[in-house]
């Protein structure tokens, strides 16, 4: 098989196979987000988290999981619009590092007359790793999805041209 033929077949295979790489990465992003979600809140920091931000954060996490799951199904069948959504969500996920985790890391609360940092270094690193990994997975899934959907569209156009 020549290089050209090999490449052609590789692209042609996309007509019948799913984009499991993008879809898998999107699902991995959900997994990292879950890890982030279960590691961020602590009960020994007084009432620091008991405000509207917590409710918004919970809602956002639920929405994130739903949207990313839908996108994982969309990119599986080479739909580029879902890949673009994944790019946006990935960027937001990175941006989230500077919202709740960073503010918690710098915040100090008084519990039992003792000043305590809301988010210690270890937890902070863990949390930003989860968020960064989740964001990176989304971005990668989006990039791969867009590239593959473009490649498939070009291949289909070539086939149509050939048929005509």
């Amino acid at each position: 098989m020549s290089m050209n033929e090999d490449r052609f077949i590789q692209r042609d295979r996309m007509r019948f196979t799913k984009n499991t790489l993008s879809s898998g990465l999107a699902l991995l992003a959900i997994l990292f987000n879950v890890l982030y979600f279960v590691s961020i809140y602590k009960s020994d920091v007084g009432s620091y988290y008991y405000n509207i931000r917590m409710g918004a954060s919970v809602l956002y996490n639920l929405l994130f999981m739903l949207v990313v799951f839908l996108c994982s199904e969309g990119v599986k069948s080479y739909k580029s619009s879902f890949a673009w959504v994944l790019l946006v969500i990935g960027a937001l996920q990175i941006a989230r590092i500077f919202y709740l985790p960073l503010t918690a890391h710098t915040a100090v609360v008084t519990v039992s007359k003792q000043k305590t940092i809301v988010m210690q270094n270890a937890q902070f690193i863990r949390v930003i790793v989860y968020l960064a990994a989740s964001g990176a997975c989304c971005l990668l899934a989006g990039i791969v999805g867009i590239r593959k959907s473009r490649a498939l569209a070009a291949h289909m156009a070539g086939l149509e041209q050939k048929a005509a």
Binding site: M1, D6, I9, Q10, D12, R13, R15, F16, T17
Partner: protein
């Protein structure tokens, strides 16, 4: 492609029930052999023994001269197509067809080429992205065949592949299998209980009953010169008419029948003089006009032919396939004659042939 040799195969189950007795057959390269017989005759068991899905109790199985009696099914290089398709419902047609090769970790590009080639042969290219539930029975069966084709096996095994299809689809799929065989020139073993499939598909037919091979031959041989009463009754639609008759000087006689014999037939039946034999006459070998009166009790018009069911002299039941459109009514008497006769030994049930 390959030659297959089944040598004195026996199948005895653990409960001591014997399903197959001394089955011997040599399948030539590129031959399509059809195993035909009624339910429970051992044809599927034989096929499963060849596939390696059943242990062989006795005998040897050779593929291209190599003994594969003890070889596991996965190493036999045979592909089997089942009656119920055995497709994975959650996979697309492409994935179903590629599955066996994917399991073998073949190069995905090679798999792709093979699947597309098989789909092209079977006319499934447009269906490759669909799921099995979206296809008709005939298409699903083609997918099952495609799954076999991509493996490029030495032998194809078909276990009643058309039984789940309706009559129209069965006919179409049967023709597709025939074309496929011609195109691939593959060695195929095909099991069916439908004699029409057997007659139309086979290079050679193996007719089985109660675990025994009754006759092996070309479709024409089985139809024209059946080896015994079983084959005569099983092959041919409507089935052959049988009459117990006594061999007289110049005719076969019974209580209600007198059939004159030709000089050749007299010579053939000489050893049976005065004895009872079974006379077999195919419905299509009966013509109107003659000295055998048939009292009609029902009449089926098939277009080109008419099936006339009746009694000879009110006793022996007979079915005649007469040419053209006939409008007989129950109670009418139609004179007929036999243009071709088959003779069977009443005791052994074997056909009486020249060498008898």
């Amino acid at each position: 492609m390959a030659t297959l040799s089944l040598q004195h195969l026996d199948k005895i189950y653990d409960n001591k029930v014997q399903a197959v007795y001394d089955f011997s057959l040599d399948v030539k390269d590129g031959e399509l052999i059809v195993l035909v017989g009624p339910s429970g005759c051992g044809k599927s068991t034989t096929l499963r023994m060849v596939a390696g899905l059943e242990d062989i109790s006795a005998g040897r199985l050779l593929l291209d001269g190599k003994d594969i009696t003890q070889t596991p099914a996965k190493d036999r290089d045979m592909a089997m197509v089942f009656q119920n398709y055995a497709l994975y419902g959650h996979m697309t047609i492409y994935e179903n067809m590629a599955f066996s090769l994917t399991l073998r970790k073949e190069n995905p590009n090679v798999i792709h080429k093979k699947v597309l080639a098989a789909a092209e042969i079977l006319g499934l290219t447009e269906q490759l992205n669909k799921k099995p539930a979206q296809l008709s029975g005939g298409q699903r069966q083609r997918v099952a065949m495609g799954r076999s084709i991509v493996r490029n096996p030495k032998v194809f095994l078909f276990d009643e592949p058309l039984s789940n299809l309706d009559a129209k689809l069965r006919g179409a799929t049967r023709r597709e299998i025939l074309l496929l065989h011609k195109r691939l020139n593959a060695t195929m073993l095909y099991v069916t209980h439908d004699q029409t499939e057997a007659l139309t598909l086979a290079d050679r037919i193996v007719c089985m009953s109660m675990g025994h091979v009754q006759q092996v031959g070309t479709p024409l041989e089985l139809y024209d010169t059946p080896a015994n009463l079983f084959v005569a009754s099983f092959i041919g639609l409507p089935p052959m008419n049988f009459f117990t008759v006594q061999v007289g000087e110049d005719a076969l006689v019974s209580e209600c029948l007198r059939v004159p014999l030709t000089a050749e037939e007299k010579e053939l039946l000489k050893p049976y003089g005065g004895k009872e034999i079974v006379l077999g006459v195919r419905p299509e070998d009966i013509v109107s006009g003659g000295d055998i009166p048939v009292r009609v009790f029902s009449n089926e018009n098939l277009g080109m032919n008419t099936l006339v069911h009746g009694h000879v002299m009110g006793k022996e039941r007979i079915t005649c396939k007469l040419r053209g459109w006939c409008d007989y009514r129950a109670g009418d008497t139609v004179p007929v004659s036999f243009v071709r006769k088959h003779f069977f030994d009443k005791e052994t049930t074997n056909a009486i042939r020249g060498e008898a």
